[in-house]
Amino acid sequence: MRRRIPLIITFIIGVVLITGYFVTRGPFNTLYESFSDYFAIITVFAFILGGGSLLKIHLKRVSSRAADWPYSVVTLVAFLVTLVIGLFKVGNPGGMSGEILASGSWLRFMFDGVYNPLSATMFSLLAFFVASASYRAFRARTKEATILLSAALVILLGRTPVGAWMTAWMPESLAFLELPNLANWIMAWPNTAGQRAIMIGIALGVIATSLRIILGIERNYLGRGE
């Protein structure tokens, strides 16, 4: 019964949502609207679930002194401090009725002074690793690798004003060979073709998986039933 009821709910909602998308008459359209509203409500509960899961995992790591457990302590402290300051608007000049990210509030300070620079720093490190990895791994070893390498070099230069400057001497009849034009061509044609192929493949996979879930063939999302 614990497995059958979720399967029935999934089947009914799946069928109604698919039908409601194509049939714009009652009762499907009203059910479609209601389910959309329910979705908005349910997703909010995902935050509670996510927070609970984060607490559970990291508390377990700390209590069992698992590898790198001090990082879990940092995660827990950061999570709880942010949660308390945000929920109870601690240090907010306007009190509980003040703006959540009001100027001068503690949460604003944490966002601007801690979260902002930390996120930016983590993302900026990519530039260093990408440069080092490109130098070591980007080799024209095969025909395919050479094509990839050439495309990458054209895009790298074509996406900067230097690319335009380097090929500005070309006559009008060869304008298509100017680096920015070549970069645009790569993005608009080979890239688009590849992206479309990937997207269509993913879409077909999603349709197949969705049908399997709606029809109750795919049941992994129900867990192991313990």
């Binding site: 979260y115 902002n116 440069a131 080799r139 900067t160 230097v162």
Partner: protein
Amino acid sequence: MRIPDSILRIDRRIIFLLIGAAVCIPLILKPRFQDSPTPIVQSIFDTVERLPAGSRVFLSFDYGPDTAPELDPMAKALVRHTMTRGHEVSFFTLFPEGVGQIKKITDNLLPVEFPDKAYGRDYVNLGYKAGLGGAINTMVVNFRTLVNADAEGTPLDDLPITADVDEMVDYVIILSLTAGDPGLKEWIQFAGDIAGIPVMGGGTAVVAPELYPYYPQQLVGLMGGLKGASEYESALVDRYPTYRNATMEATMRMGPQVVTHVLIVLLVLLGNLAYFLGRSDRRNRAGRTGQ
């Protein structure tokens, strides 16, 4: 150790130092690179430009601080443009961190550059809504169910800018600044295609290639990375010379980007040169040993 081998085994800290210098030196010297808008960026500018003054524009900040260096300049350029044109802008975000990005605009840019523009009349912050692509679907199906107040809880009916907004289609265009999922792709799939609202915007250089398949039928225009932002800024300055002296962040940041790109190209070429020299060297030695 032979020269090609020593080049190939260069300490990665030297590469890190070179990249650091390639970023820092242009930031200090501030070289200016002239840019001109490509058609894919120009089409966003033209659409915003052609809208009659007072048009309702929906601007979604679907990114956080990590991608802000690329997307903040786009946000500023779009806000400057829409405000100069006299449009009514509703700010929104599908990212929890996007709230902070909106606040940077409403607290720092708007009061300084557009002191005559009033909150609730010329712009509004609709805040963050959970639900990823599903939230967009809910807004298209029943806008007021999900969005019935601004970010601070003021009912939409009490704000002149949103009092008449009952449905998503009351907005003439949707602009999204995208760092991943959810973002422009979801706005196209759930709002643009279904409700028929023109969708356009910008994405990080990593995200932009994924969005090209939608252009130009489903996506009116796209700013890809810092270059896209720089192109939009140049279009803005060309049309409105009053912005000539304003700080155009993307144009400024193109300096480090140009030098870094050139450096990476040189490093890749050097790496390949060393690889091929080393390979022919090894072949020659093997040939001599065989004799």
